[in-house]
Subunit: 286 residues, 2 copies
Amino acid sequence: MFQDALKDAQARVQAALDTAMQPLDGTIAEAMRYTCNGGKRLRAFLVMEGARLHDVDPALADPTAAVIEMIHAYSLVHDDLPCMDNDDLRRGLPTVHIQWDEAIAVLTGDALQTLAFEVLAGLDTDADTRVTLVSSLAKASGAQGMVLGQALDIEAESADRPLTLPEITRLQAGKTGALIEWSGTAGAYLAKADPAPLRQYAQALGLAFQIADDILDIEGDAAKMGKAVHKDAEAGKATFVTLLGMDGAKSRARELVGQANDALSPYGARADNLRQAARFVIDRDT
Amino acid sequence: MFQDALKDAQARVQAALDTAMQPLDGTIAEAMRYTCNGGKRLRAFLVMEGARLHDVDPALADPTAAVIEMIHAYSLVHDDLPCMDNDDLRRGLPTVHIQWDEAIAVLTGDALQTLAFEVLAGLDTDADTRVTLVSSLAKASGAQGMVLGQALDIEAESADRPLTLPEITRLQAGKTGALIEWSGTAGAYLAKADPAPLRQYAQALGLAFQIADDILDIEGDAAKMGKAVHKDAEAGKATFVTLLGMDGAKSRARELVGQANDALSPYGARADNLRQAARFVIDRDT
């Protein structure tokens, strides 16, 4: 069942993160461990399930899952900075620049990104596969992927009009979509299998995830979520909810979950965990 | 001659940087190009000379040289931030957070780091070599290399006593030494040759470089250097000059240049450019 698989993924990815960071000491290492602790681990789960569908050894899937959580954590630490989203709370704990200071937060994010590529390059598999993973993760997280999405998000704040639906879709595809897509396909890359079905699944899932986030920003409970809510609404930002209406956003999210599940048909019942994950993404309350 | 080879390296690495950033557009891409423009290009030169000594095709050496300049530029953009060194001027131009803003500076550094790994992973050589380069660059620039050095530098500012010589040597080995060492050895990696002689050369060169920087912080001319001087002295920080005295620092730098040159003996006269580079590093006025 999905909830058991998610719990299993959470424990496994934490162990892989601990292993990867074990040789490090000092303040930055402490802050890296702090910020890689907790979270839903949805991206790690996607890596592990995609790997399981292709019979990839968990000894290979787990550090790969740790890598995407490092990239995700690096982006959160930098995104929480005063000059970016200025968030004091993350996963119910003070953000890194509050717990330490801004300089430590900048360096912690930097070092997490570096460690992600170091771990990928050191995976116990053939060099071609490692190079494919490094290339694809760099594309997903860099100036044409996640960082582009973050920059579009910042620019939207000072724009003289709210974003349109195509614009916000492009922003999302970078900001959250690119890493979710990579997470979904990494298992296929590890197995040298065709990543197309998992890519289709993860693209639909990523968009549904962002729509659900926008819904949670309106309907969510700050205490449960461990972070501030109503931030977008108060900032007057365009979101999928302002653009589609609440009912429209919910119906679009359900439609995307349907698409995500359809994309898994080549895998049959073995992909049921991923189907339940798609449902979870739009039903979650945190 | 060294000056010609350095000029050649400057032109070649700029072309390689332009090629690597050509597909990017938007504000972050603009800031990436801005910050990758100019500078001495010492690291690029070291990559290219090391490659030339091993008869590596410039088509392979040039993008590798661009990669180290991207990592160097990313570290400068983040290091210049108000929460770090708070510098307004770099290479005679406003720093990225002055020209744009802090959020753009954070994202620009992030994206430059990512692009560096993307370019390495995409080099036109066998996957084993690419993986070796990614691994070694990640080690050199991450939480056990450059970022560690930067963190030690920050911690030294709030320490209750000045650093000792071993401590400042360790700090330097991370903050500037690790990237210079990687630059020196990358050509050997590209050729699958023994990197030991070039590593010895680059380690001595890196330390001499930092000692010369500390000397320039006292004796340098801000207008020529395009950045602030006397910063360390005014902050009461320990430097190689405060620890060894001005004469001691200069004599140690000369000694290191001798060691660097000795390490090049396996290459004979073909390494004369690198020998002159070592001399340049301690004789430069910027």
